[in-house]
């Protein structure tokens, strides 16, 4: 894509998986090439070691007996044990670990569905339909991107409390179905604006309405943006702590995050190994998504900048 006008969507997302093609050549490395390259790799490896240390640590620690976890500098135990993981089968406070995972999965998948539907509809409205008030709404939408969530926290809680929706997933999910996550709307708008206008003009001549164009033409072409949004949404919901902390108060409804806090309160000291093992297990879905889709995540990130 050789651009003449500044592209609004990062070419990164639109090309999906090929950001690295046709790289610009960098300025030559300082000094002699081989020493420069050696220094480069040493530097990169040093950063890598620091970045990966906590992750490697938690893997190693989950195979250690509880009392050895803190004091020992050895990353991996000489005789690894599976006790910590086996203990998880007993659950936490009579609730099976699977329950927490089910709850988190429900929350995460519900969020994904909500975001995909509501944000793509909204983005289509912004990108493809001319209606009165569009510019004002777009500015408001961008404004919410910078609005600290905490201003809404108390009144939303009051509202959901009056509606007797505390201890349900409604407060956690409703915003996802009402396109309040401005970042994803923005991401999709940028993407849709770059799709050639001729496509919908042709469809229009054939008598297609907006709904048909949205469903049969724009959505399929937006797949990269939809995938990026879906994965980020899943991970954000999986990691979400404050929302469940405020709205859920019955252990059987807890997400993994809350379940872990309860674990820590109830047997954290006695079963430190179990807690660390649980930490690792809770990270696995996110790590799996990351390994499978890291291109989409990084390209989506590069396009507009998102806190993970």
């Amino acid at each position: 894509m050789s651009t003449t006008t500044p592209t609004t969507t990062g070419t990164a997302t639109s090309t999906g998986t090929r950001t690295d093609s046709a790289p610009p050549r960098r300025a030559p490395a300082l000094g002699r090439k081989s020493t420069g390259s050696l220094a480069w790799h040493l530097g990169a490896l040093l950063v890598l070691a620091v970045v990966l240390y906590p992750v490697v640590w938690v893997i190693g620690a989950s195979f250690k007996p509880s009392r050895e976890i803190i004091g020992s500098l050895q990353l991996f135990p000489t005789s690894p044990i599976l006790q910590n993981f086996k203990g998880l089968a007993d659950g936490i406070a009579d609730i099976s670990i699977a329950t927490f995972f089910q709850n988190s999965l429900f929350y995460a998948l519900g969020s994904v569905v909500g975001i995909l539907v509501s944000c793509s509809l909204t983005a289509y409205g912004f990108a493809r339909i001319r209606f009165a008030g569009r510019n004002l709404m777009f500015s408001l939408m961008i404004g919410t991107l910078l609005l600290p969530y905490h201003v809404l926290l108390i009144p939303q809680y009051v509202m959901f409390q009056k509606m007797e929706l505390i201890n349900t997933y409604v407060p956690l999910l409703i915003g996802k179905f009402l396109a309040t996550e401005a970042f994803f709307v923005f991401l999709m708008v940028q993407f849709m604006r770059n799709l050639p206008k001729e496509l919908d003009e042709a469809a229009r001549l054939d008598g297609c309405g907006h709904l048909r164009i949205y469903w049969s033409i724009v959505l399929p072409l937006c797949r990269p943006a939809l995938i990026t949004s879906a994965i980020f949404t899943f991970i954000n919901a999986w990691n979400d702590f404050m929302g469940p902390l405020i709205y859920l108060n019955e252990p059987a409804k807890y997400t993994v995050s809350l379940g872990m806090m309860m674990f820590r309160d109830q047997e954290g000291v006695a079963n430190y190994g179990g807690m660390i093992a649980m930490s690792l297990v809770a990270l696995l879905p996110v790590l799996a998504f990351f390994l499978a889709f890291q291109r989409y995540l990084i390209d989506g990130m590069a396009t507009s900048g998102l806190k993970g």
Partner: protein, 323 residues
């Protein structure tokens, strides 16, 4: 990508709407149909905006001037919440803790992000791998799991403490030491430098290499090239990162809560602003006071945003020309 950032920051709306007056009836009718279609497509967002953003904001502003415990109806008390807040030593402490966290953490994180991005941009071999690996902490850093890991790594006799004693200044673990624990949170945010780094890298890719070649012909050294070419060229990206990272770090909650064992301590040493807000609102049911706190946070964030946008003229260069 640089331009994506520009669009966001300049808040440019989609292309300007058509002027309506004096159009043939058919066109006007079509316009009306378009309006209807537009509002239908936008209806989830419009409902969400009214119900979950605008309405709550108005309510929160009202609560800020009331005494409200969630069960009795709100009682108007004027500016009392605000005057009480300013006199409240714990509120002052929370401002101090948050300010320290933002002022130390954000620049360190961005410096590291920029430094590593410059390093990675030097070479193509292994770049994709390193970029992905360095980005990973940004995805898991907010989780409770990493909060637990952090608490473990920074507790007495654990890896960080051992290293420190080895170097000759034992503080007995950061998480138990009120003077040090905040730095473990700083370390946690700096560890997540990957997200801004990816944005920096994308910005660096946009810098035309001819500029460097020309500068080299003119005899500019690497430092000069960085200062006069790289930095101005990526200044929009830098601005974007500074803005977003600052705003986000004002709102830190989860990691402070988890790393401090849900106490925001010891001795309030990790009592970040939102943690105090949470305690006031959800532990003590002082909804009015908590709302007033939220509005102070909003004002602080707005102030920082305005100052940053104002300062933009002096140091951010938006490329108008296309290449």
């Amino acid at each position: 990508m640089g331009t994506a950032v520009t669009t966001l920051i300049k808040d440019s709306p989609p292309d300007a709407p058509e002027k309506r007056p004096g159009r043939p009836v058919a066109v006007r009718r079509r316009g009306r149909r378009e309006n209807l279609a537009g509002y239908l497509f936008m209806s989830p967002w419009i409902a969400g905006f009214l119900l979950l953003t605008a309405g709550p904001m108005a309510a929160s502003l009202y609560f800020a001037f009331t005494d409200y415990n969630l069960f009795d109806s709100p009682k108007w008390i004027g500016f009392d919440n605000f005057t009480r807040m300013l006199d409240d030593p714990r509120w002052q402490k929370s401002v101090e803790v948050t300010a320290k966290y933002v002022v130390i953490g954000t620049p360190l994180k961005l410096l590291l992000a920029l430094g590593v991005a410059l390093l990675l941009a030097q070479s193509r071999r292994g770049q994709a791998f390193y970029r992905a690996a360095f980005y990973a902490p940004s995805l898991i850093g907010a989780s409770v799991s990493i909060g637990f890991v952090w608490r473990a790594l920074f507790s007495d006799d654990a890896a960080v403490d051992r290293t420190q004693s080895f170097l000759g200044f034992d503080v007995g673990g950061w998480v138990g030491n009120p003077d040090w624990v905040l730095y473990s949170l700083v370390a946690l945010t700096v560890w997540q430098f990957g997200a801004p780094m990816v944005i920096f890298l994308a910005g660096l890719k946009q810098v035309p290499k001819e500029l460097y070649e020309a500068a080299e012909v003119d005899g500019a050294g690497p430092f000069k090239r960085f200062w006069s070419i790289t930095l101005p060229m990526i200044s929009p990206v830098l601005f974007f990162n500074v803005l977003l990272e600052t705003i986000h770090s004002f709102q830190i909650f989860g990691s402070a809560y988890v790393v401090s064992n849900a106490t925001c301590g010891p001795a309030d040493s990790t009592l970040v602003y939102t943690c105090y807000l949470y305690q006031k609102g959800f532990k003590e049911a002082q909804m009015g006071f908590a709302s007033a706190m939220a509005w102070m946070l909003l004002l602080a964030v707005a102030l920082v945003t305005v100052v940053l946008f104002w300062s933009q003229k002096r140091w951010v260069h938006y490329e108008e020309a296309s290449r």
